[in-house]
Symmetry: C2
């Protein structure tokens, strides 16, 4: 298998991720198509990659072959390779979660730990545009309030998670790997077939394409991106609106003047800032109900023995 | 057919619509299940309904029977009935649109005209929760930036359009009509079978239900409602943020301090306020690019010979 890194990259990486590729990056390398493609692309970009393969302790022979494939590929590419073994069935039993959830948590945890050791604190994930469309539909049909997809760049604690392939289609990735003669291992990390995602990918999205007479994936992803930006813009606007008095209490004369939808957003934002637990729409509405000066009640209970209370044209939240 | 209006309403009408039912309401009565149910419910509520049936000039015998059914039902219920005939094929040919679009436009126009004559200026439409879920998916897959469903109450010009059944499921409506022994005419207003909507209803949504293992309709509708509220809240926040100078020009030192997503929202809102035509995401980004004090250009062209120009830490839009 000749490695030909002079082949020009036909895949466009997410512009927001490019900046991070100048630092050391940890890549979760399963041996599957997407992570193999991302490895080749990162190497091609001159990025200092550290590859981490997680062996799940399930389907041993096949999993061993996956690990060997990854080790060999990294050796050829002169990429540092790390192998971590976990026992997913035991983890799942201990935590009382599904194999899939246990595997995902363990992988995330190991990737973050490796990123901290690599100083850059950056982890690259190989999700692409078709994964994104599935995620969007999945979250939407699960009742997500804000239809957000995965972000190309996401900061969590000290770690920056980047998804450089988020704009690439599955087919483009396959084509490119075939073009450069790079093989991959099939479905090697699917510890358990994810029935829901498979149904979305293989049945729902093709049927949506047919019903709408177009490829809905880029359209869904664009909708999700714009929705995400709307939520971000609203959060940022709530941070600069004059909603608080100098003591940091919610200043009601301003809130009273706003339309209902903005009042709801202000109250939710304030509850979040005050660290109130388990915020729900009904909680937000219950708090809204005590805001008017002529409301029948001026106080509403919140979880963990806290309460919200209207007093001298302010809303005060007690405790913690 | 005995009319028994003492049967309690098993269907819950949209709370936001109830206020409007104290005024005269025009109802588009096709004779189909949904509009027949809404007629019976409005009468039950003691609402002064004026029913308008639009005869489309297609499939004459069947359409005549629909009109006769509606006239007879209204007579029994003692509801004023109005019949309007339109020639949809001719309208469609004249306007160069599909039969369906021509029919919809003509119906909307006739309903609005009838509402103006009835003084209340209120039109009730019979869309229900399953229609809403189809609309949400349809708009989403067509690339709507903000995933909004139909609104229970929508003001347009002098007319208030209300959708009292928006929280009711198709099945509930069918059950209730059967319970009160009220027949309806099947599919009478579908001037043309809407292929896309049928595919969404009959194929995509059932498959989503199966893939997610739940009834996705209420979940999709809730997501859409919350998204709509987010957009409304953002619009309202943009109206009160200190983005304009006393002369109504965009004040850039404030804009510069905001995160990218809020900058985009501010610029889009400002372009809308200035009546700029054909606002697109690329136009917003092009305007954003001239905002920084060190930007290579300070001016960008807009449609209809207008342009946006940075000058003395303000953004000015010329013309109109």
């Amino acid at each position: 298998m000749p490695l030909n890194d002079s082949v020009p990259a036909a895949l466009t990486l997410e512009p927001d991720c490019l900046l991070y590729l100048q630092q050391p990056v940890v890549l979760g390398l399963s041996g599957g198509r997407d992570s193999v493609a991302l490895l080749r692309l990162l190497v091609q970009q001159g990025c200092r990659v550290h590859a981490l393969h997680v062996h799940h302790g399930i389907r041993s022979a096949e999993a061993d072959a996956d690990a060997a494939f990854c080790a060999e590929l990294c050796e050829r590419l002169d990429v540092p390779f790390e192998l971590q073994k976990i026992d997913v069935p035991t983890l799942a039993a201990e935590q009382g979660v599904s194999l899939e959830t246990a595997g995902r948590h363990a992988r995330r945890w190991l990737l973050a730990a490796a990123a901290r050791r690599c100083k850059g604190c950056i982890v690259a994930l190989a999700h692409h545009a078709d994964d994104q469309a599935e995620t969007v539909l999945f979250r939407l049909a699960r009742g997500a309030a804000g239809m957000r997809g995965m972000q190309p760049v996401h900061q969590a604690g000290h770690i920056t998670w980047i998804r450089p392939l988020l704009g690439c289609r599955r087919e483009e990735i396959t084509d490119w790997l075939q073009q450069i003669g790079q093989p991959w291992r099939d479905d090697s990390t699917n510890t358990v077939a994810d029935v829901t995602r498979n149904a979305l990918r293989l049945e729902v999205i093709p049927m949506l394409n047919k019903a709408l007479g177009r490829d809905v994936t880029p359209v869904l992803n664009r909708s999700a991106r714009l929705q995400g930006e709307t939520l971000e813009a609203l959060e940022a606007a709530l941070d600069v609106l004059p909603v608080l008095d100098p003591q940091g209490r919610l200043y009601l004369p301003f809130v009273w003047e706003q339309p209902h939808a903005l009042q709801k957003a202000i109250v939710r934002h304030y509850l979040q800032q005050q660290g109130v637990a388990d915020i729900s729409e009904s909680m937000v509405l219950a708090v809204l109900a005590v805001l008017p000066p002529d409301a029948p009640a001026a106080r509403v209970n919140l979880p963990r023995d806290r309460y919200a209370c209207r007093k001298e044209r302010r809303l005060i939240i007690t405790g913690e």
